[in-house]
């Protein structure tokens, strides 16, 4: 087989100039076999299983980075939802101890985030689920690496508003206990949460999974933006075509690395998540792709069409490239982690309302955005409920990661640095939905016919 210099150069420049990388390799680990009536023994077993496998993950991932010359940016671990394994130990202080055990195992192994300190409560809550939610502000205050999720709805169960109603106050407590409310960046609330999502903060190892599985998140907004910029004159059909071809290639690299890494670790290969995930690095922006389409600043009218076109092309290219596409496989449009999104909010072209609109066509929801710290908790719950309703009605995953920053108001900005980026404070509608939210109960599962 011969490859041309052009083909070799294309791959080399994707890595060299366009930030192509394997964004994350996440090892899902089942912890059900660690459950023990003696809590000390239980945490020892949890520590050992996570630590030992995380060390193996890092070693093998580095080996493949060298072999293929492609950076694997994050090596992470997701675990069985903690509320499930803590059912017989449902006391608040034990959740904090368990979280500290997870934090220590991750730190000692060299893992930056561990996901799965959460629960699925779409239909109702057990005692363990409630205690876990109550414990979260302390968990975030006392750990660095532990990430949490709640799944509060599915297409078949509807949405549990009683669970949503607990989140606003939990987030406000977390905001008060962690610097610049950074603890809130480690919590995601979902509907239709995938059990094999490799991306933090929402990753967990679902109950339908085997003992261990390896899931891979590819990336490459910079690669897509680059081909879009080289094709300024083409129409939408041609634009879709060039994006498909590019995403195909990017996904194939993820498939190769994921499959080989799983084999070397002797675990099941799970999925390739084809989500385009931005970073704050220059050029590595999803909003930058939309702007390269010809939108002056993301949020302008036309942005929803642009995101819809991008997302559809990404899915088509990815699905052709791998039989294992799964996880979220949408396009992430987090505000704080995407330079062009940050700028768009600051210059007034992107509002929370438009962000919600965009999420209707691209998944993954309202991600990493900051709001004033004095936003009433019912309003936070209502922001969450609105976004999740889009997921329930449209048969898709949606999620919210919102940061109410104490003492800040629109026009201010909080800089987290590193992966989490910079979050300009966004304006929130000042009218109340308290009386509606207080009704509580469950949004019934939606009808699946009559799809208009």
């Amino acid at each position: 087989m011969t490859l041309s210099v052009e083909e070799i150069f294309e791959t080399a420049s994707m890595i060299l100039h366009q930030n192509l990388d394997i964004r994350t390799t996440t090892l899902g680990i089942n912890l059900k076999d660690c459950i023990h009536s003696d809590f000390g023994l239980f945490t020892d077993k949890v520590y050992e299983k996570i630590h030992d496998n995380a060390v193996r993950l890092i070693r093998e991932a580095q080996r493949l980075e060298h072999k293929y010359g492609i950076p694997i940016v994050n090596k992470r671990v997701s675990i069985t939802p903690v509320s499930l394994i803590m059912e017989t130990h449902a006391e608040p202080e034990k959740y904090v101890r368990m979280a500290k055990t997870l934090d220590m195992a991750a730190r000692d192994a060299g893992i930056d985030f561990i996901g799965g300190f959460g629960a699925s409560v779409q239909k109702g809550m057990t005692k363990s689920d409630r205690v876990l939610i109550e414990s979260l502000p302390d968990v975030f205050a006392e750990t660095e690496r532990v990430c949490s999720f709640l799944n509060v709805g599915t297409n078949v169960a509807g949405m549990n508003l009683d669970a949503v109603n607990l989140i606003g106050s939990m987030l406000k407590k977390t905001a008060g206990k962690t610097k610049d409310a950074v603890g809130c960046a480690k919590f995601v609330v979902f509907v239709n949460a995938p059990e094999d999502n490799p991306f933090m903060a929402g990753a967990y190892h679902g109950v339908g999974e085997g003992d261990m599985s390896l899931n891979v998140g590819i990336s490459g907004p910079g690669v897509v933006r680059s081909v879009v910029e080289k094709n300024r004159e083409c129409d939408l059909t041609q634009l879709s075509e060039i994006i498909k071809r590019t995403v195909f290639k990017v996904t194939r690299s993820g498939e190769l690395v994921g499959r080989e890494l799983a084999k070397n670790l002797d675990v099941q290969f799970g999925i390739v998540d084809i989500s385009l995930a931005p970073t704050t690095a220059r050029g590595d922006s999803v909003a930058g792709i939309i702007e390269a389409f010809g939108i002056e600043s993301i949020g302008a009218h036309g942005s929803t069409l642009a995101v819809a076109l991008l997302m559809d092309a990404v899915k088509k290219g990815g699905a052709m490239a791998s039989g294992n596409v799964g996880g979220l496989s949408g396009t992430f449009i987090p505000v704080s982690e995407d330079k062009n999104m940050i700028d768009a909010v600051k210059r007034g072209s992107l509002s929370l309302d438009k962000l919600e609109g965009l999420s209707a066509v691209c998944s993954v929801g309202l991600d990493m955005f900051a709001i004033p710290g004095d936003t009433p908790e019912e309003t936070i719950n209502a922001i969450i409920a609105d976004e999740l309703a889009i997921g329930i009605i449209n048969n898709k995953t949606t999620a919210v990661r919102v940061i109410p920053v104490p003492g800040m108001k629109p026009g201010d900005s909080v800089d987290y640095g590193g992966l989490l980026g910079e979050a300009p404070i966004m304006e929130v509608n000042r009218f109340s939905s308290k009386a509606f939210l207080q009704r509580g109960g469950r949004l019934p599962a939606p009808i699946t016919s009559m799809r208009n």
């Binding site: 087989m1 011969t2 070799i8 150069f9 791959t11 890595i15 072999k67 010359g69 190769l256």
Partner: protein
């Protein structure tokens, strides 16, 4: 024994001694050059070498570091990658 094929990519401005420096290192480390070609793409000089490492006792990471060192000397970017990544990305 089956071949262990990798691509070395050299990107930068053309200058004297590129092939000499790299092939000298490869020869000394029992890495065989199977194919070599070069081209100007846009403003870049791009050279690729297909090499077989089966008889070399070196680890890929060692070779990568040595080539990066040569690259720094020459003011070029040099990388080495297993051929499978290119096959996966460019062939169905």
């Amino acid at each position: 024994m089956e071949k262990e094929l990798l691509f070395i990519t050299v990107i930068g401005q053309d200058r004297k001694g590129i092939v000499a420096r790299i092939s000298d290192y490869l020869y000394k480390n029992d890495i065989n050059i199977e194919d070599i070609s070069q081209k100007i793409i846009g403003t870049y000089f791009v050279m690729m070498m297909l090499v077989d490492m089966k008889e070399s006792g070196r680890e890929i990471d060692e070779v990568r570091k040595a080539l990066e060192e040569i690259g720094r000397d020459l003011g070029m970017h040099i990388q080495i990658q297993h051929e499978d990544i290119f096959k996966m990305m460019h062939r169905i």
